[in-house]
């Protein structure tokens, strides 16, 4: 602990904490223009200067750590003069277009200019013509840019795209795309979010609404299991559409929380319907009574609870293969780790110094995990080992080691990994026997993961303290998923590694905990956002319409094992699942009445929906909702011996959506319109005898698909990526993500 004073007020903090952070925690105001909590200090604005006793000149509070006994003064005449001068410099030739600027009303420059009362420009500089750049979803106006460097810092340190850079040219300095003519990145839009002025703006949003007109609705992102905190900004749609509401944009609390492009740009997936369809409603009731519901995990915890109640009351079956796989995986994991839940959180990843990730193309599967890993790599120097059959160009700057294994060999790789990590630990005789019996030669040869690679991995771990193992969706849908999970459980139990299991869909974790799922079987089933004989759909193509996730209130269970609330952004005037439940005799006034009824036995708390916090507020860490309790379970898992590893020969496709696409919801978004196509490397094209733009047809799992083949130069290897987000109700693929297929050309 370090004790010192700020303005005479005695404060204390951890060693190494900056003066600015301590001041903020103690509600002492120090003005800043370029500071961002989640990156290293840009130190470009110098507005946060403070005086410290015994130190000549000013100290930059954003980067100076507190020292024992220091006397800091944050307000004095000379400091004020300095700050006023800085603001005067910022305001030189800043275009006077606040009237139309998107940022007006929420602009740091505007606020600080008023705060320091800069009413006139006393300096002069030759004004120059600066061209507005159009970078796809982002527009950049260099005339408005104040060169605070927040955008470049966040792009490099948090996102990991490293796509923008500062061009230094004195008065002509500006932000430019890095090593490229135009901006080539994943379009997360975080640079838009952090920009304190209106220099970087969303091209779709620009000039359509003002900051003060939009009502902010705190919610959780509905696209992946991170369920990031975001705010839907809503306003009336237009003069012509009377009474119609529309989401104009999504913003986030960028100081602490990061959004990917899907969260930021895919917000208009609401199911717009006009009135209630009584006939379809009655049909749905009859259909449900027939005995089975198949559903996807794109639902809230409350809806899952309603489905479970329907099962209890009517004795129907619930099918959700994806959640069932996940539930089995978690059970197997618990049977060796002794805990019902995994232990790592995104915050733990961010502060890790060694990370091993296996079985996920994480940059597309779950961007929040990727951002957390980027942060760890940049801030903690984390050594990241990325284990996957397909190299990912997006992880190149982040991962230290890439371990390529053969498709289907996940079980063998996991066994090798567990053996490496558990070496020298005292283990039960059974477990030791398992590792002793491993046919290393066979596993290494078949999985293509050599001894040297494992040695390198081990070397990466030397002198690291905080370690994380991340398991992806490939493992969960694997034929030997339970054995993989048991191995992961052992790693969690016996090493310093904390494990994170990335759920494949938004609320897979919640559904797997709440619902008592049945094995998939053929026969009559009602589909809820899934295929079925009678379909309840929020995608707008079913027999009875359901509200979309931005038209519902409820909670999600996130990757951080938190139960976070989401709110209604847009009105919905049709029937909801709770109406069906009420008609079936399961009474509750509102869907959120079920929030407090979520099963306590698996770790939920009995909190009412209205008591849950939806915003970050001033807390630096995620304090939305509440954290699930992990339940202790008995360690009775027995490892089964590693069978022969399956071989995948010929043309192999990997079920993987492109960046920013997750579900039919993201496909619906007008800003993310793109044609879904099969993407493969040049090598793949040669092997499969295809050329760019070919129309192809193939059976992927049980589904016959027609796609256009595109060569993606960023890809390597002989596995092509086959998206699933555009398949509507059939999009919820829950089988193993790799499939050997026979591709046939259908013209070109």
């Amino acid at each position: 602990m370090v004790n010192f004073t700020i303005n005479g007020q005695s404060v204390s903090c951890e060693k190494g904490e900056t003066i600015l952070n301590v001041a903020r925690k103690n509600a002492i105001y120090i003005p800043t223009m370029c500071y961002l909590q989640k990156t290293t200090p840009c130190a470009s604005c110098r507005l946060c200067s403070v005086e410290a006793e015994g130190v000549e000149g000013f100290v930059l509070s954003c980067q100076a750590p507190a020292i024992e006994g220091l006397c800091v003064i944050t307000e004095s005449d000379s400091l004020h003069k300095e700050r006023v001068n800085i603001m005067k410099m910022y305001d030189v030739n800043h275009p006077l277009e606040c009237g139309v600027c998107d940022k007006s009303g929420a602009c740091d420059l505007q606020n600080k200019t008023l705060e320091f009362n800069v009413g006139t420009q006393e300096f002069s500089a030759k004004d120059q013509h600066r061209k507005i750049e159009h970078w796809g979803r982002i527009n950049y106006d260099p005339a408005l840019c104040i060169l605070c460097e927040k955008c470049t810092h966040v792009c490099n340190e948090v996102i990991g795209d490293d796509a923008i850079d500062l061009y230094f040219g004195g008065y002509g300095s500006k932000v430019i795309p890095k090593n490229s003519e135009t901006l080539d990145c994943t379009f997360c839009g975080e640079c838009i979010s952090v920009c304190p002025v209106g220099a970087l703006v969303s091209s779709d949003f620009q000039y359509t609404a003002n900051a003060w007109e939009l009502s902010k609705i705190p919610a959780a992102c509905a696209h992946c299991s991170a369920a990031c905190a975001l705010e839907y900004e809503v306003k009336h749609e237009s003069i012509d559409a009377i009474g119609q509401e529309k989401i104009y944009r999504v913003t986030n609390d960028f100081e602490v929380n990061t959004l990917c492009g899907a969260g930021r740009f895919a917000y208009d997936f609401e199911n717009r319907i006009y009135g209630k369809d009584k006939e379809a409603f009655l049909g749905a009731i009859e259909a449900i009574k027939k005995g089975a519901i198949r559903f996807s995990s794109l639902i809230t915890n409350e809806e899952a609870m309603i489905l479970q109640r329907m099962k209890e009351k009517l004795g129907i079956k619930l099918f959700n293969q994806e959640a069932l796989n996940f539930s089995k995986f978690m059970k197997a994991y618990g049977s060796t780790s002794g805990q019902s839940l995994y232990s790592a959180t995104l915050e733990h990843i961010r502060s890790s110094d060694a990370i091993v990730i296996i079985g996920s193309r994480i940059a597309t599967d779950n961007p929040a995990v990727r951002y957390a890993m980027t942060t760890a790599a940049r801030h903690k120097g984390a050594r990241i080992t990325y284990m996957h059959p397909i190299e990912d160009a997006l992880m190149q700057n982040t991962a230290k080691q890439y371990v390529k294994y053969e498709v289907g060999a996940e079980e063998g790789v996991m066994a090798l990994l567990a053996k490496t990590l558990l070496e020298g630990k005292t283990l039960d005789s059974e477990i030791s026997a398992f590792f002793a019996e491993l046919d290393l030669g066979y596993l290494e040869a078949e999985s293509n993961v050599g001894d040297e690679e494992m040695m390198q991995l081990k070397k990466n771990l030397t002198r690291t303290k905080k370690r994380t193992l991340i398991l992806g969706a490939d493992l969960i849908a694997h034929a030997k998923a339970e054995n993989i999970a048991r191995l992961a459980g052992l790693i969690e139990k016996h090493t310093e590694f904390k494990v994170m299991i990335v759920a494949p869909s938004t609320n897979t974790l919640g559904v797997s905990l709440i619902c008592d799922l049945d094995e998939e079987s053929e026969g009559y089933a009602v589909g809820y956002n899934a295929r079925g004989e009678f379909v309840l759909s929020s995608f707008g193509e079913g027999d009875l319409d359901m509200p979309s996730l931005n038209q519902q209130e409820g909670t999600f269970t996130t990757i951080d094992k938190r139960v976070v609330p989401t709110n209604v952004a847009l009105p919905y005037n049709g029937y909801v699942l709770n109406d069906l439940a009420n008609a079936l005799g399961i009474r509750a006034e509102y869907t959120i009445d079920y929030t407090s009824q979520l099963p306590y036995s698996v770790g939920f708390e009995c909190n009412a929906f209205d008591t849950l916090n939806a915003r970050y507020g001033n807390a630096i860490k995620d304090s939305r909702g509440y954290e699930l309790k992990s339940i202790e379970v008995t360690c009775d898992g027995v490892l089964s011996s590693v069978d022969e590893l399956p071989e995948f020969n010929g043309t192999v496709l990997y079920a993987c959506n492109p960046v920013l696409q997750f579900t039919p919801n993201t496909q619906k978004a007008h800003q993310l319109e793109e044609e879904a196509c099969l993407r493969g490397s040049e090598q793949f094209a040669i092997a499969a005898k295809l050329s760019d733009g070919d129309r192809v047809e193939f059976d992927f799992g049980t589904l016959r698909q027609k796609r256009i083949f595109k060569i993606d130069t960023a890809l390597k290897g002989t596995i092509a990526l086959n998206p699933a987000y555009d398949l509507g109700l059939a999009a919820m693929v829950s089988s193993y993500r790799y499939q050997s297929v026979k591709i046939s050309k259908v013209g070109s």
């Binding site: 009237g99 139309v100 002069s124 030759k126 159009h134 359509t208 609404a209 003060w212 007109e213």
Partner: protein, 210 residues
């Protein structure tokens, strides 16, 4: 300490004593029935009605009529009168002054202004639709006061008669006709929402020496 007046003090106002109230001269009210009868008879037979009519007749034949021939003829309205809005154009170019900042929409206390904006092909903000619901407007003048571009002003059109309210909310009706603006027929607007005279003298000029 001064004693605060109570509610009763306000009720017991004695107008007679030492106040500035005084009775105007007038005939005393007739109190008896006979007196009332006498008043009616006198008023009826003195033909007081024709005293007034005589004035009208006399002026009619003098052909010196001061009556304004409304609606053919209208009295000029003071420039600071707040009637139906007008949207101004720039003098030189005829460009619409409105930049779509949305301040009028925000400040409007009866919530009757609404605008739709977008980015145009020149990367400028363009107003695609603008309406004022005059059925709700209370003509308070806040919109004209807040407008940073002197675009929306209160004009002098005070006649609000139509079969439909919808007739009052069109942007084009309020917009100064383009030919008038370009030909310079529109004088700088002196009315409500315009800058006060001698505003130039108060402007601080940015130094241009470099």
């Amino acid at each position: 300490m001064r004693k605060l007046p109570s509610l009763q003090d306000f009720k017991d106002r004695n107008v007679a004593e030492g106040s500035s109230y005084y009775n105007i001269d007038g005939e005393a009210y007739p109190e008896t029935g006979w007196a009332q009868f006498k008043q009616v008879v006198t008023r009826t037979f003195r033909l007081e009605l024709f005293v007034g009519l005589w004035v009208v007749l006399r002026e009619m034949f003098k052909f010196n009529i001061h009556t304004v021939q409304y609606p053919a003829e209208k009295l000029p309205i003071g420039p600071r009168y707040r009637a139906v809005h007008e949207m101004q154009r720039l003098w030189e170019s005829g460009t619409e002054r409105c930049i779509g900042c949305g301040l009028c929409e925000k400040i409007c206390i009866s919530d009757c202004i609404r605008m739709d904006t977008k980015i145009d092909e020149n990367s400028r903000k363009a107003v695609t639709e603008y309406t004022i619901n005059l059925g709700r407007c209370i003509f308070c003048g806040y919109c004209a006061e807040v407008c940073p571009e002197l675009a929306i002003v209160h004009g002098g059109r005070y006649e609000n008669v139509s079969e439909q309210r919808a007739h009052y909310i069109g942007f084009e009706d309020m917009l100064t006709p383009l030919d008038m603006a370009i030909s310079g027929k529109v004088a700088e607007y002196p009315g409500f929402g315009a800058v006060t005279p001698h505003e130039d003298e108060r402007v601080k000029v940015t130094p241009l020496a470099y």
